[in-house]
């Protein structure tokens, strides 16, 4: 490109804007308590690992990470398993009301969590799902399904019908055609849906707080939010915990950023 300086400036600004606030958190996580609330703030940490020790051992952070991995992981798997056939059917069926089904799904995606929280709580109580991981996974699946179905539907749409017909003629049942031919081709779309679902479940706070009160089962956002004691604001511990909690996602994003973007370009955005 000819406008190299503009580009460099853009890169610089984008990275700076995205990272700086978090960098401050990283710096804070290596400070000791007296530096955290120092006035004026000091830039350089004294390299104390107190907050990490406290986050890991006193607040048992890894235990929350484990819970979050379980919840977000199973949400992702179940949501995809359920969303894929639905999206496939929506993409292939010749139904006049299809746009409305998708529109309806989008509506569901818009339900404010507050609207459905109470009844969901009651359902889970009847099923015995309170304070269990699956009790949280069920509503998560339902809340992430619309987006997953939406992405996958548009994705399946892009795949040539011919391929599927070829598979049918080669002797596949509809299901076989789906998982032997269409699914491998829709990998980027699946991937996108997966990462969006995963990040949703990883970050969700409202339902997690409501459904999980047993500290043995609480997920990461709840765990970190509960670091806060009655009167003490443990910035250092929160910072250290955030750094640890964000690392897996950063690695995930770094590894798969190409996949995410490719998945999106073939799917959700075309119109």
């Amino acid at each position: 490109m000819t406008h190299r300086p503009v580009l460099l400036g853009g890169i610089f600004l984008a990275v700076l804007g995205s990272l700086c606030p978090f960098l401050w958190f990283i710096l804070t996580s290596f400070k000791s308590q007296i530096l955290v609330e120092a006035i004026p703030p000091t830039w350089w940490p004294d390299g104390s690992l107190v907050f990490y020790a406290s986050a890991l051992f006193e607040h048992r952070l890894l235990h929350y990470v484990r819970n979050s991995v379980i919840v977000a992981g199973s949400t992702t798997v179940i949501a995809l398993v359920v969303a894929t056939p639905a999206a496939y059917a929506l993409a292939r069926l010749r139904l006049p009301g299809k746009t409305w089904v998708l529109g309806g799904l989008l509506c569901v995606a818009m339900f404010p969590p507050i609207v459905i929280a109470g009844p969901v709580w009651q359902i889970l109580e009847r099923l015995g799902g309170l304070n269990t991981h699956w009790g949280l996974v069920l509503p998560y699946v339902s809340l992430t399904l619309p987006l997953a179905v939406w992405i996958l539907t548009t994705f399946f749409h892009e795949l040539p019908v011919e391929l599927e017909e070829a598979a049918r003629i080669d002797g596949c049942t509809t299901w076989q055609a789906l998982y032997k031919i269409m699914l491998p081709l829709a990998t980027p779309g699946l991937f996108t849906a997966a990462i969006l679902t995963f990040i949703y479940a990883w970050n969700e706070f409202f339902f997690a707080l409501l459904i999980l009160t047993d500290p043995e089962r609480q997920t990461l956002p709840v765990g970190i939010a509960l670091f806060q004691g009655e009167f003490i604001m443990p910035w250092g511990e929160i910072a250290a915990a955030s750094v640890i909690a964000t690392l897996p996602l950063i690695i995930l994003v770094l590894l798969f950023q190409r996949g995410i973007i490719n998945g999106l370009s073939a799917g959700a955005v075309k119109g």
Partner: protein, 282 residues
């Protein structure tokens, strides 16, 4: 094939939503036995100045944050669409804010915006501590701070959607424009932007839906204050429903928000979404 998905949605979204809607038709007082009041709560909502204010705050938040997010997102997308060394790292870097749980991100911004030990004051004023600004104390600046945090957190998501849109624009289109003598700005204005419209609209829709439901940020950063200046409608609904226990009125607020959003997105689905699905016969 869609049956399992529809079951899930029906049990954990539709049924609860219907249930909530029914709740909104019953009175909150007096006593444990609730009486049917029809659309009484909805009439009350029309008269409620606090709700009006919350609605205006929400609307302002939605308009400003989505606009800024689309602008920033487009900027980010244009940058990381270019080919350069280390692009993967830059892309990962801009996606980091999106991967941080909102609860944590909001705490972080509260920390950054602190009037004494906040990094923003330190960057702006250095050691001149007496010049430090209590950002969240001023109604307008607190409102701005909420938007700032939201823009930071989700611009990269908007950027992601826009980037995906950029990638389907064929390189030849630019070559043609360059042959026609278009400048970089003209190419952006007359080629990129029009071709990006679907992607921008998608991003706009998803961001609008999310912005309407903003809750965590306010919950953590300002609790709606000062003086209700940052009280968005969802937070008001939460307070009414969960803190005050006015189930009927609280759900009324949330149901109203939902209906407003539903109308908005059905409009969208009809204009953009149907186009998305009508190419099948090709």
């Amino acid at each position: 094939m869609a049956f399992p998905a529809l079951t899930f949605v029906a049990v954990f979204s539709l049924y609860p939503a219907m249930d909530s809607f029914l709740l909104s038709l019953y009175s909150d007082f007096p006593g444990p036995e609730r009486s049917f009041v029809g659309f009484g709560h909805y009439a009350e909502l029309l008269q409620d100045p606090v709700a009006h204010q919350a609605f205006i705050v929400t609307l302002g938040f939605v308009l400003l944050s989505t606009t800024l997010e689309l602008l920033m997102g487009t900027g980010i997308a244009l940058v990381v669409h270019e080919r350069f060394k280390g692009r993967g790292w830059v892309r990962a870097a801009v996606l980091i804010p999106w991967a941080i749980p909102t609860v944590v991100a909001s705490q972080m911004w509260r920390f950054l915006l602190n009037d004494q030990y906040g990094a923003i004051n330190a960057i702006l004023f250095g050691d001149r501590v007496d010049a430090y600004v209590p950002w969240l104390a001023d109604p307008w600046m607190a409102f701005g701070a909420i938007i700032l945090a939201d823009v930071w957190k989700t611009s990269s998501f908007a950027g992601l959607l826009v980037l995906a849109g950029l990638q389907v624009i064929p390189e030849e289109t630019y070559d043609a424009a360059r042959v026609d003598g278009a400048t970089a700005w003209q190419r952006f204005r007359h080629i990129t932007l029009p071709l990006l419209k679907p992607a921008l609209l998608t991003a706009l829709l998803f961001r609008t839906i999310d912005a309407f439901r903003v809750f965590d940020l306010v919950f953590v950063m300002t609790q709606g204050g000062p003086g209700d200046a940052t009280q968005v409608i969802q937070f008001y609904g939460y307070k009414t429903l969960f803190t005050e226990g006015r189930v009927g009125y609280g759900t009324t607020i949330s149901v109203t928000v939902f209906v407003a959003m539903a109308i908005l997105s059905l409009f969208y689905v009809r204009t953009v979404g149907s186009k998305l699905l009508q190419r099948e016969s090709a």
